[in-house]
Symmetry: C2
Subunit: 330 residues, 2 copies
């Protein structure tokens, strides 16, 4: 008989250098293209799961509040998969907390579903391989597949649920890249990234983007491996604009960026003229992730905080991916 | 013998609803696609030309200053064509003045070359048809072909220099559209529109844009003719973003917009929720042209002027195109 114990896991958010945008299979979160990311050591979710015999229903608590509806359903869906894999029917208690404000505009679904994947599977007595863990996390939220991995990872798109998962490109210490998360808005975004994924295929440019991505992904990975910040940064920004162009040419158009986003982009271009190299990337929201080397963090951070509209920054490096935690939430 | 007299002409700038971006023949300014515009009655150039026997060289004065180099060469090129057509060798004196500041970010080449086309050809004794005048203006600056026409015009791309010219879609009074030119920057732009034209073909999306333009141009014209501001505005903004996406995906990318541009776009979207309908379009620069109906001009103008970063506005309606003037500049 399987022993059902209380298990906790901690997992980082991640920032994509090559984005995940558009789903080939929206139920299984199978993407159109490979994506590349680094995880963010300052943006963490911790999740505790306990399958317990006396529960009538799964109980889901996020940031100390019991949740219902779609937020709960997404968690239950992962619990159901774990139950199938573990051949159990027991209901579970789940509690999850982020160390970064949910309104900071850093997507918490990647850290949340990767932490859930490890905590839930181990609470059910399963010992999943990294690959299997990445797949389980992906079924909760596509980008969560990458958070499982330490350092820098690539999500291989695959074509079925069993071959779509992330692998490590390099360990955290390979290159001293930093991500200065620059919060320009804490408003709830008008359109979710799920809506953006759905709309992506209505852009007349989506198909051409897929063609471009082949060489861009390849070149960005090469630039990363030889630590060529100029080429890496150029491709990073090209990819960012590309994603937002797809969003803006979706029908109807989706705007994730705001005027402060553009002000920050402009300041980064000005800093580069002076030899201070920070490059922007934005996900489905207006906040800017500034990718730079450790030596430039202080000057960039100081300069960016003076831009009108910038609320705060969070400095991140790459570290370990999803791991066990002793910090039980109940 | 031809009588060479002093002639003056006045001509409006224009704002394109469907843009001219990318040249099939860059010497002859033959475009890849048809474009559509309204002329701007508050943004005028007046030009005086006199072919005079005693001149050794063409003399070109713009805004009271004698110009040399490329600015002069572009004018001389038009004078040369006129001399060929009129079978004369006489040199000319040219003086030109804009009633709008050259740093207002409203392109003055359309008004300037259309005024030059009429003043120069008539000073040389030629009586050109509207078609021939539009062709001559086009040879100076592509978009000048449209300023020749009264009200709302379409530049038919054609395929040779003799069939690439603008025709009227409707007269000025057909629809009470206004253009609130919103100046957000008076800095000289980093990249000229000529550079943008050249770079357009390096965008991976240029070809797909051309396909999209066929239905967009057709639909925008239909929406214009039935005075359907919602559909017209939607297509206008779609086209604007499309042009800037091409610029931003050119290699290297070109950015014409700034953070205030995006702030103005956002305010327009907010006004529309309240039923006040203003739509944005931007040419190769950060200033916003707000297209709306007369009844909404005051409230939009008042609201937009309060947006931080907006320096001033110029309200325009469509009126007569290139015409003779009695206001001789010398």
């Amino acid at each position: 008989m399987i022993e059902l114990t209380k298990k906790s896991a901690t997992s980082p958010a991640n920032i994509a250098f090559i984005k995940y945008w558009g789903k080939k299979n929206s139920k299984l979160n199978i993407p159109y293209n490979n994506s590349i990311s680094m995880n963010l050591d300052s943006c963490l979710t911790t999740t505790t799961v306990h399958f317990m015999d006396n529960l009538k229903e799964d109980e889901v608590v996020i940031d100390c509040k019991k949740v219902e509806g779609e937020a709960r359903n997404r968690v239950v869906r992962i619990l159901d998969i774990v139950r199938t894999w573990a051949k159990i029917k027991t209901k579970a208690k789940v509690s999850s907390i982020n160390n970064f404000p949910s309104d900071a505009g850093v997507a918490s679904s990647a850290s949340a579903f990767s932490a859930l994947a490890l905590a839930a599977s181990s609470s059910a007595g399963l010992k999943l391989s990294k690959k299997k863990l990445s797949i389980l996390a992906r079924l909760g939220s596509g980008s969560a597949s990458r958070s499982v991995i330490s350092g820098f990872s690539e999500w291989k798109k695959g074509s079925t649920t069993n071959d779509s998962y992330a692998v490590q490109i390099e360990k955290p210490s390979y290159w001293d890249l930093r991500d200065i998360v620059t919060i320009v808005s804490s408003e709830k975004k008008e359109k979710s990234s799920t809506e953006g994924h759905g709309a992506a295929l209505t852009s007349p440019y989506f198909k051409e983007r897929q063609k471009e991505l082949i060489s861009r992904t390849n070149n960005l990975k090469k630039a990363f491996l030889r630590k060529d910040i100029d080429t890496f940064g150029k491709l990073l920004e090209e990819e960012t604009l590309d994603l937002h162009l797809i969003a803006m040419t979706s029908k109807p158009p989706i705007f994730y960026l705001n005027s402060t986003t553009f002000a920050v982009m402009q300041v980064l271009r000005e800093l580069r003229v002076k030899g201070i190299k920070g490059y922007y990337t934005m996900d489905a929201g207006p906040n800017v992730h500034i990718i730079c080397r450790q030596k430039d963090v202080d000057i960039i951070n100081k300069t960016i905080k003076r831009v009108p509209g910038v609320k705060s920054t969070i400095i991140n490096k790459a570290r370990v991916g999803t791991r066990f935690s002793n910090n039980h939430l109940f």
